[in-house]
Amino acid sequence: MEISYVSVDLLKKGDWHSNYILRPDLLTLSVSLRENGFIYPILVRKEDNSIIDGYHRWMLVKDNEHFQKQFPQVPCVFKSCDSLEAAMMHLQINRGRGTLVAHLISRIIKDFIYSKKYTEEQIQALLSMKYDELQLLMDGTIIKKLNIQNHKYSRAWVPIEAPAGTVDKFETERPPNSDR
C-alpha cells in the first residue's frame, strides 16, 4: 500500500457519501485526531480525488485552523476505479464497520477507572461523554437504575364497579425509548 501526503485542498467529497456521524461522535473523532493524528490513511479515487473513505477526518481538518496547522498534508491512498466502484467500496467499508456494544464498553470503562490510568474527568473529555452516561456505564444495573433500595412496595388494588363516566387514571409502563 503506497501512502501519499497531499494537501486537504486537493481532495473533495464523493457523490456517493452516505454516512453521517452524530455530533458527539464527531467530537470524539476530533479528540482522537488531535491526540493520535491520522492512524490510517484517507482512501481517495485517483481519477478525480473524491474521498471514498475518511470524509469526516478530512472535513475536520479542512474546517479547523488548528488542524490545518497540525496537518498541512494528510496521508492518502489513491485507488483507480470508476465512480460506481468507488460508491460500492464506500458502502462496503461503512456497512462493515460494526457497532459498539454498551455492556462491553462498560467493562472497559471499569478497567480504566480501576487501573487509575484515566480519571473520570479524562474519560469524559476523551470520549465526549457526559457525567450521567459515565455513571451508567460504571454501575449500570437495573437495581441501581430503579433505585430498588429506596423503593416501597406499591399498594395492592382490586377492581370495583364505578359510575358511568368515571375515569381511572391508569398508566402503563412504556419502554424507555421509542421504536428503534
Binding site: K144, K152, Y153, S154, I160, D168, E173, P176, D179
Partner: protein, 385 residues
C-alpha cells in the same frame, strides 16, 4: 362496563401471597408458566414460598420454548431448571409465528422440520425437551390446537397455570384484569376447548416493575436474568419474548444494543430481517397506508397480495378484512378503511385479535380529525368497492 381500582391497605406482595395461597387451595394441580423474564421469576419465587410452607416438593414449572430465545434468557432458564426445588417441563412445539419486516409479514413455524433440515433453526431442540413428535404431531405444520391444550396434558383435576402478567404492561392487560369483580385474577384462557379444566392465575397483576425486582433481590436474594442490566445501560425494553413479530421487531435495535450475537443468529436464519433494522426509522409508513386507503376495499386486497406472504397469514388477513367490511357497512365512521389498512400493516393478526373501532380521543382519531379531508375524499369515492 366502567371500572376503577380500589386500593387496599396491604402492599402488592402481601396481596399476591394471599392470592397464590388461594390458588393452591382451589386447584388440584398448579404450575408456574415460566419465560425466563422478571415477572415469571417473581411468581416462581412466590410459588416456592407456598411449596416450602406446605412441604409440597418441587414447584411444577412449564417453559414454552419459542426457539428465538436470547442466549442470556436461555442461560437463566437453564439455571432455574437445574434448581433442586424446580420440576420443569420444557416444551418445543411447532407453533405458528410470523416474521414482520417493514410491513411485510411471512408465516413461520417454530422448530419446523423444514428449517431444521436446511440448517436454519436458531438453535437445536434440547435433548430433554417435549416436542411435537411426543404428541404424534408433524413439525411441518402449526399446532392444530392452542398450545395450552398440549402443555396441560397429564395434569390431574382442575389445573391453574400461574403467569406473570401485570396490568401495567399494557391497556389490554389492564382491561383483562378488571373485567371480573370476583377473583379477577383467575381467568379462562382464550380459545381453549370448552370443558378444558384450565385457568390462568395472574397473582402479581397489580405489581410495578420496581416491585418485581425488589421482591426477587431483597426478599429472596435471588439472581435475575443478566439481560435486564444490559437493558438498563442501553435504555432497552425490559420485556422479553420472540423478537421478530410485528410489534417486537420494531425494537430490534434493542437486540443489537444488548446481545448483538443473538441478532447474528437470527440473521443467519432469516437474513431478510436485516432490512428492518436499517430502514425502519426512515420508512414512510403513513404514505404507504394512504396509498392503499385511496383504493378502498380493493386496496385491502391489494395490500394482502403485496405485503402478506404464506397461506395461513393470508387466510387470517382475508377473514379479518371480511369481518371488518361487515362492520364498516354498519358503521363506516368507526370502521374506516384507513384504520383497516393500518391494522393490516402494523398490528398483530393473531386469531384473538378482532377488528376494533376507532374511539374518540385516540391518536388515530385525532390524526384523522386533523388530516381528514384527503382520506375522506378518497373513501367517499371508493366505498363499496
Amino acid at each position: 362496563m366502567t371500572r376503577q381500582r380500589l386500593f387496599l391497605d396491604i402492599n402488592c406482595v402481601e396481596a399476591a401471597r394471599q392470592r397464590i395461597r388461594h390458588v393452591y387451595d382451589t386447584f388440584d394441580t398448579v404450575c408456574v408458566q415460566f419465560s425466563g423474564g422478571k415477572d415469571s421469576t417473581a411468581v416462581l419465587l412466590l410459588a416456592k414460598e407456598v411449596h416450602e410452607e406446605r412441604n409440597l416438593g418441587p414447584v411444577k414449572v412449564i417453559f414454552r420454548d419459542e426457539e428465538m430465545v436470547s442466549p442470556l434468557i436461555l442461560e437463566y432458564i437453564e439455571y432455574v431448571r437445574t434448581r433442586p426445588w424446580v420440576d420443569m417441563e420444557w416444551y418445543c412445539l411447532p407453533q405458528g409465528s410470523e416474521i414482520w419486516v417493514l410491513g411485510r409479514r411471512q408465516s413461520c413455524i417454530l422448530w419446523s422440520d423444514a428449517r431444521r433440515k436446511a440448517g436454519r433453526l436458531v438453535r437445536e431442540i434440547p435433548p430433554f425437551a417435549i416436542t411435537g413428535h411426543h404428541f404424534g404431531l408433524d413439525n411441518s405444520k402449526p399446532l392444530p390446537q392452542h398450545i395450552d391444550y398440549y402443555t396441560m396434558q397429564g395434569k390431574t383435576g382442575s389445573v391453574a397455570f400461574i403467569t406473570g402478567v401485570r396490568a401495567t404492561e399494557s391497556m389490554i392487560r389492564y382491561r383483562s384484569l378488571v373485567q371480573k369483580l370476583h377473583e379477577n385474577y383467575i381467568v379462562t384462557p382464550y380459545k381453549t376447548k370448552k370443558g378444558m379444566p384450565l385457568k390462568f392465575a395472574k397473582v402479581i397483576y397489580d405489581w410495578q416493575t420496581a416491585d418485581v425486582f425488589k421482591f426477587i433481590t431483597e426478599e429472596h436474594g435471588e439472581r435475575y436474568c443478566e439481560y435486564y442490566d444490559r437493558a438498563a445501560i442501553t435504555s432497552s425494553n425490559t420485556r422479553v419474548g420472540i423478537p421478530l413479530h410485528s410489534v417486537a421487531i420494531r425494537r430490534i435495535g434493542d437486540v443489537i444494543a444488548t446481545e448483538p450475537e443473538f441478532y447474528d443468529e437470527l440473521y443467519r436464519c432469516f437474513p431478510y430481517m436485516d432490512a428492518q433494522y436499517r430502514y425502519w426509522p426512515v420508512l414512510d409508513v403513513e404514505s404507504i397506508i394512504r396509498k392503499y386507503t385511496k383504493m378502498g376495499f380493493s386496496g385491502a386486497s391489494q395490500f394482502i397480495d403485496d405485503y402478506i406472504i404464506g397461506p395461513s397469514k393470508t387466510k387470517r388477513a382475508k377473514s379479518f378484512v371480511a369481518e371488518y367490511r361487515r362492520k364498516h357497512v354498519a358503521d363506516p365512521k368507526s370502521y374506516t378503511i384507513y384504520s383497516l389498512i393500518n391494522s393490516l400493516f402494523m398490528h398483530s393478526l393473531a386469531i384473538s385479535k378482532a377488528a376494533s373501532p376507532i374511539g374518540p380521543k385516540t391518536k388515530a382519531h385525532t390524526m384523522r380529525e386533523l388530516d381528514s379531508h384527503e382520506i375522506n375524499d378518497a373513501e367517499e369515492g371508493t366505498n363499496g368497492n
